[in-house]
Structure formats: C-alpha cells, structure tokens
Symmetry: C2
C-alpha cells in the first residue's frame, strides 16, 4: 500500500528534481524504472519524496535520466 504521508522537504526537493528531469527526458515513470532498474512504484514514491533513497538508487536514477547525480542533490540541506 502506498504511503500516504507527505515526504520531508529534503526528499521532496530531490523528488521534484527527478520528476522535472524525467519530464525533460519525456519518459514515463515506468520507463524510468526500467532504465534505472527500480520498480515503477518506487519512482512514484521517489518523486513524491516518500522515500529516503540510497546513494546507489540516486546514481542509478541519475544515470537513467542522463543527469549528473550531483545535480540531483546539490544544495539540499536538512
């Protein structure tokens, strides 16, 4: 069952950046999931800031989106 709680600001900001990069790439959450090797539903949770992704997940998603992982986390703070 999807979590219904809102994410934290930090995770939400990362999620917004992932969503924006995915929209720029014009691919669906499902396609991003396939390219990144993560489940489609994980992409949804990630974009809504509902998960605290690991370094590997961040790098996998960034690679699939053809963006530098540094761009996804630049300037994030607690």
């Amino acid at each position: 069952m999807p979590r219904t709680t809102r994410g934290t600001p930090l995770a939400e900001e990362l999620g917004n950046r992932v969503r924006t990069a995915r929209e720029v790439a014009r691919i669906s959450q499902e396609t991003l999931g396939e390219l990144a090797g993560v489940h489609r539903t994980y992409v949804g949770h990630l974009e809504r800031g509902e998960v605290n992704p690991t370094l590997y997940s961040i790098v996998r998603v960034a690679t699939a989106l053809e963006v530098d992982p540094g761009e996804l986390v630049k300037g994030l703070h607690l």
Copy 2:
C-alpha cells in the same frame, strides 16, 4: 562486527571524498559523527566505502563538513 569486504567503486569514491573533506576540516571521525548525528563507526564504514548511505546520511555528513552534498556525489557512476 565490521564488514571486512571492500566496498564498491562508487561507494569507495564517495568515502574518499568524505575522508578528504574531513581531513581538510581537521576533525576526527568521532567529531564528524557527533556533528552529523551518526555513530563514529558509521563514519569509518562510510569512508571505506562499506555502506550504501541514504540521502539523509549524505546530507547530514555534508552539512557537518560544510560542503555541498552535490560535491560528494558529483560525477559518480555505476
């Protein structure tokens, strides 16, 4: 018990960057752990690339080191 396996190249590169930033800041692993709110032994594992840190851990450590979290993950790839 500490893991004795070597980390992966991706996690090792992040660990090297954390260690370098910590040495630049001239603080011990213990002090970094206190500042970042993580256990001292976690800092050791992180610097050796033995853990797959979460976004929150990366941002906490970066904040404690007064570096941008983007600098810690910039250019990392699988």
